[in-house]
């Protein structure tokens, strides 16, 4: 839900239901990194209400567009995190299995020498 004015689209408060610090803080970070944003902050009006208000003020672009772009950026960031993480885990697992098999090979050859 967006609370803004019809005459000035560059300033708006977005009331997001079922969200908390998790999303609001990361989107605040992303928006603050956007040069079009002059102000971005969030608040949780009441702790027992599942709602967070995100305030966005821009240099002129419609606030909702900027917020959408921010979400898009956050998504791309997440995708990159996921692929990088997946790759790192795979690399680690393969390098470990290579190491353990080579260790095994070494110990087997040791056995061979013994016999």
């Amino acid at each position: 839900m967006e609370h803004g004015s019809y005459s000035d689209l560059s300033k708006s408060t977005f009331s997001l239901v079922d969200e908390d610090h998790t999303f609001a803080n990361s989107v605040r970070f992303i928006l603050n990194q956007d040069p079009r944003v002059t102000f971005c902050g969030y608040s949780i009006p009441h702790p027992s209400e599942n709602r967070v208000n995100v305030r966005v003020q821009t240099t002129g672009d419609p606030a909702s567009e900027v917020l959408k772009d921010g979400c898009q950026d956050l998504m791309l960031m997440c995708q990159h995190v996921r692929s990088t993480f997946g790759k790192a885990v795979n690399d680690f697992k393969t390098s470990k299995s290579v190491r353990s098999t080579s260790e095994k090979a070494v110990s087997e050859s040791d056995d061979d020498m013994d016999t």
Binding site: H21, T22, L67, M77, V89
Partner: protein, 399 residues
């Protein structure tokens, strides 16, 4: 900055626009005394937390894109910039635990991952317990709570939330376990462990209250389904740890119950949290700002309980302290504490002048301890996906 409306400036503003929106014409940027990167002391304040003796300093992250506009330095993180700098290094990984370094990400996002891991990645956990008989010392409600906390080894992706089916229990949202243990008279005390929870693929066997009638040949139970026919289980659902103590029975005592596990998230109740815990710490950085030699070096090495420092021989019987393993630093600050702190006005060099303790703001040592049902690397991937879903939801809501 570039929005001042002077006509004669128009062409210059155009030029500025091409200048990556930084708002400063090229000829100024090319002047010798204009910094293109932050001066070192600001860079240090931006990227490091200084852990001083009294309190940490420069703890905030500078997020605003225009924070250094006056210096002509752009503070915005462009995605391609992030793509270049972001790194993940896995340190160790088992079925239950992993540690990895996440480098080049803002704490806001790293913390979102942590919060999602703890509270929003779904698992299966026992939600309803139907007790037919419980003569043990453990009260019904305590027993039910204990059962709820047992991690269930079943892939939550194969199940739906109970709300999706309108509160009805079907094979897609409920796993039924049965537990029937009895300590016979004359036997020693019996310890009831989680391995006595047996999966009932055909659903509940207990007859629901009020539906029992002599006329009805097939009395209604709490659920009617058959999970065995579903090909999706690679292994039978069971508690992940088979030796969790549930209760103890004395001779003649008995527990007979049925436990229904459903899908849920840690936000609703901690029993659904897929992690024992998930946490991160920032990478410690220990820097010797001055050479620490001889007795002082010995003193420094012996001061540090985490064995961060080591001694290096520099010839002619002289010794020098070096930082060997900054990662192990616990930030106890013992190395910058003066031994004779009570005495006022001590002249000369202090330990704070020799050692500088810092933390790297965008380097996170992330540890995930899984409860076992889902391996930690899968958990993290799931958590990132959940954050993506959140973004997607907001985007669709806005358009």
């Amino acid at each position: 900055m570039s929005s001042s409306g002077d006509e004669s400036m128009a062409s210059e503003i155009d030029e500025q626009e091409q200048n990556g929106g930084r708002g400063i014409p090229d000829y100024i940027m090319n002047l010798e005394d204009v910094p293109s990167t932050l001066p070192t002391h600001l860079e240090l304040q931006k990227t490091r937390v200084f852990c001083n003796l009294d309190a940490p300093q420069h703890t905030d992250t500078i997020q605003y894109s225009g924070a250094y506009a006056a210096l002509g330095v752009d503070n915005s993180v462009r995605l391609d910039n992030f793509y270049q700098n972001f790194k993940v290094e896995v340190k160790r990984i088992t079925d239950e635990e992993m540690e990895f370094d996440m480098i080049g990400i803002d704490p806001a996002v790293a913390n979102a991952f942590r919060r999602i891991l703890i509270a929003e990645v779904p698992t299966m956990a026992i939600e309803r317990v139907y007790i037919a008989n419980n003569t043990s010392l453990v009260q019904d409600e305590v027993l039910s709570h204990r059962l709820g906390l047992i991690p269930i080894d079943a892939d939550p992706k194969l199940f739906e939330y109970p709300d999706d089916a309108g509160g009805e229990n079907n094979e897609k949202n409920t796993i039924v376990f049965k537990q029937h243990v009895r300590c016979e008279k004359g036997q020693p005390r019996l310890t009831v462990k989680s391995d006595t929870l047996k999966w009932l693929p055909n659903g509940s066997e207990l007859i629901a209250e009020g539906t029992k009638s002599a006329a009805d040949p097939a009395p209604k139970t709490f659920t009617t389904f058959n999970q065995k026919s579903l090909p999706k289980f690679s292994k039978d659902p069971a508690p992940y740890n088979l030796d969790v103590i549930v209760a103890k029975l004395g001779p003649g005592q008995e527990i007979e119950l049925e436990a229904h596990a459903v899908k849920g998230i840690g936000k609703t109740h901690a029993k659904w949290s897929p992690v024992a815990t998930a946490w991160y710490r920032m990478l410690p950085e220990v820097v010797l700002t001055k050479d620490v030699k001889d007795e002082l070096a010995e003193e420094l090495v012996s001061k540090c309980p985490a064995k961060v420092f080591d001694i290096e021989d520099i010839g002619r019987g002289r010794k020098k302290a070096v930082v060997k393993n900054a990662r192990a630093c616990t930030l106890c600050r013992e190395c910058i504490r003066e031994a004779d702190e009570g005495e006022e006005g001590g002249e000369g060099e202090k330990w704070t002048d020799r050692v500088s303790l810092r933390r790297v703001k965008d380097h996170f040592i992330f540890t995930i301890e899984s409860t076992g049902a889902i391996p930690p690397d899968v958990l993290f991937t799931e958590a990132v996906k959940i954050l993506e879903d959140k973004c997607e939801r907001v985007i669709t809501e806005l358009s």
